[in-house]
């Protein structure tokens, strides 16, 4: 079996803080690994080590067979990195940014300009190509940043929380781009705080907590452990809560719980939602919310570790 990314026993400390404590994982060529965890779990540290920006204190990692410490130059030729914050030069135009990267990758001036034009077109930035990047919206900046990481046609792409801070429609755009990358043969390591993102993009998911891998599974496998989807319904008229509860119980055979957002019940598949909508309509009950949700990161963590993600946040703030 051929791995594009291999990490063995990675350890990284920053003073007293242990950012990574013995992390192992491997990603098959042409697949997507989703790295799921809260702020401060060590996701970014892992990505920075794999992209040669940091040296591990112990352990080793290889990209396409090249060791990230001893063969850093070869690794840099193979990888593209997109960070949480867009690392483009804001004073340069989108085109100038991409041409600059191409020239730094030893493309000739003409080849660099051709590659930039190609990527601007592909990322829907053609009309904004000659405006300074500081005039771009958040979503455009992310796309430019991703385009910058693809100038050298990397075979391994790191996406560090590519959709954090983007609104939902822009998230879908970014997801489509990731799928296209994989279709064209790239191996992708994606870090995220959202289970739904990892679920819809990744072939494998590792859950990382305080620098340790606490779960490594397929999305389906992980959902079997942490529980499947829940259906949440909130009636427009609070007096009809009892009616909604009866319908939900009839459809799913389980008793709904009362949450702040509404009545919530675990469901096996999408069919339950359709059936619920039909029965609500038949009963003439208007709703203000009706949604199908995967467990939140907090719920995932509670199931896997017995604690939520708050401890990490406190630790990070300290």
């Amino acid at each position: 079996m051929e791995y594009a990314i291999e990490a063995e026993g990675l350890v990284k400390r920053f003073g007293e803080t242990v950012a990574l404590a013995d992390v192992d994982f491997a990603v098959q060529r042409g697949s997507v690994l989703g790295m799921l965890g809260p702020n401060g779990a060590g996701k970014t540290t892992a990505v920075r080590i794999l992209a040669t920006l940091l040296k591990p204190d112990a352990g080793s990692a290889r990209i396409s067979g090249y060791d990230v410490v001893t063969r850093a130059a070869d690794v840099r030729r193979a990888v593209g990195l997109t960070g949480q914050y867009a690392s483009v030069d804001e004073a340069l135009t989108g085109r100038q940014n991409l041409v600059m990267i191409g020239q730094l990758l030893d493309l000739s001036g003409r080849a660099a300009r051709a590659r930039a034009a190609e990527l601007l077109e592909w990322f829907g930035l053609k009309d904004a190509a000659d405006r300074p990047a500081r005039t771009y919206s958040g979503g455009m900046r992310r796309r430019l940043d991703l385009a910058a990481s693809l100038v050298g046609r990397p075979s391994v792409v790191f996406l560090d929380e590519p959709t954090t801070g983007l609104d939902p429609s822009k998230r879908e755009d970014m997801w489509a781009i990731v799928r296209a990358l994989v279709r064209d043969g790239a191996t992708v390591l994606l870090t995220t705080q959202y289970l739904d993102e990892a679920d819809s993009l990744a072939d494998d998911i590792i859950v990382i907590d305080r620098g340790r891998v606490i779960a490594h599974d397929t999305p389906d496998g992980l959902k079997r452990i942490v529980g499947t989807q829940t259906l949440t319904v909130r009636p427009a008229d609070a007096g009809q809560v009892a009616g909604v509860a009866t319908i939900l119980e009839a459809v799913t055979n389980s008793t709904p719980t009362h949450e702040p957002r509404g009545l919530t019940v675990p469901v096996a598949g999408d069919a339950a939602m359709t059936e619920t909508v039909r029965r609500l309509a038949a009963a003439g009950i208007a709703v203000t919310e009706l949604s199908l949700n995967l467990p939140s990161l907090d719920e995932v963590f509670f199931t896997l570790t017995g604690h939520g993600t708050h401890e990490n946040e406190i630790r990070e703030a300290a």
């Binding site: 992209a51 040669t52 920006l53 130059a73 840099r76 030729r77 990888v79 593209g80 990195l81 960070g83 914050y85 867009a86 690392s87 483009v88 030069d89 004073a91 340069l92 100038q96 600059m100 990267i101 020239q103 730094l104 990758l105 030893d106 493309l107 000739s108 080849a111 190609e118 077109e121 592909w122 990322f123 829907g124 930035l125 009309d127 904004a128 300074p132 919206s137 979503g139 455009m140 796309r143 910058a148 990481s149 693809l150 050298g152 046609r153 822009k170 755009d173 489509a176 781009i177 296209a180 990358l181 279709r183 064209d184 043969g185 790239a186």
Partner: protein
């Protein structure tokens, strides 16, 4: 026009064709020039970043000539202007080097250096490129200082070659001194503290010299500092080249100082850069 909605995720992303790699030689020089161009575009897009090399020498010339000139040079503002201008050139070009450390510190904080470091480029290219881009700022400063000096009545007593030599020496000196600023930019936590630290270094250097007043009235301990001060040597060399008189010894001392600055601060800056990002 809604650019947001125009994401064209339709065709395949051109990913698999092997990049046409051109020349491998002169990597540091080529990558540095590419990044110098970036620095220049940045400078031109933010004109306020040129205040320290345009307005600053003008204000200093006016201020010192008309406020102190009469008192210091016994009423002859013109005599003082001749004495002062080479000093202002030396002082402001030294201060012009502060900005590079501030800018590089911002680059590190903003993450653009992560991009550079994840690319297979010569390691020191981002720093060397930034220093090369500064040549343009220092050249602007020379033109502004001499040009505005001309308006106030300053005339070089020497020939065009010497004047050009004075400019090149000042620019060369600034390129060496600015590595100290690059070093501070790499170790300081915020760009504000880079500004503060560098001002603390450059101000005593420029006032503890022969820039504004003859050194005869200074106490002995200060005179010994003034003698070794690199800015004293630079300003002495500039006076010689612009006004005539002995310049050779000052020029040699300035060149020696430039060598010392490079030998000390280039390795320090590169080391701090490797550790920082």
């Amino acid at each position: 026009m809604n650019l947001e909605a125009s994401t064209a995720v339709t065709g395949t992303i051109p990913l698999t064709i092997a990049p046409t790699r051109a020349r491998r030689r002169w990597r540091l020089a080529r990558h540095s020039l590419v990044l110098a161009r970036r620095g220049l575009i940045n400078t031109m897009r933010t004109p306020e970043a040129l205040i320290d090399v345009t307005l600053q020498p003008i204000i200093f010339l006016v201020m010192f000539t008309y406020i102190f000139g009469g008192a210091i040079a016994h009423g002859s503002q013109h005599a003082y202007l001749e004495f002062l201008l080479p000093g202002i050139l030396g002082q402001t070009i030294a201060m012009g080097g502060i900005a590079i450390g501030v800018n590089l510190n911002n680059d590190v904080t903003k993450g653009i250096f992560d991009r550079f470091r994840s690319l297979p480029i010569a390691r020191s290219a981002p720093l060397v490129g930034a220093v090369l881009a500064d040549v343009v700022r220092y050249a602007i400063l020379c033109v502004v200082t001499l040009g505005f000096g001309y308006v106030l009545g300053f005339r070089a007593h020497t020939n065009a070659v010497d004047v050009l030599g004075a400019c090149l020496l000042a620019i060369g000196f600034a390129l060496c001194l600015c590595w100290a600023s690059v070093f501070v930019g790499m170790i300081a936590r915020t760009s504000g503290s880079v500004q503060g630290i560098m001002t603390l270094i450059v101000l005593p250097l420029s006032f503890g010299s022969n820039t504004f007043v003859p050194t005869a009235t200074m106490p002995a301990w200060l005179q010994s500092f003034v003698k070794v001060n690199p800015l004293t040597q630079l300003v002495g060399a500039l006076r010689g080249l612009l006004l005539g008189g002995p310049a050779a010894s000052h020029v040699l001392w300035t060149l020696a100082w430039m060598g010392i600055l490079l030998v000390v601060f280039v390795p320090l800056a590169l080391r701090a850069y490797r550790r920082r990002v």
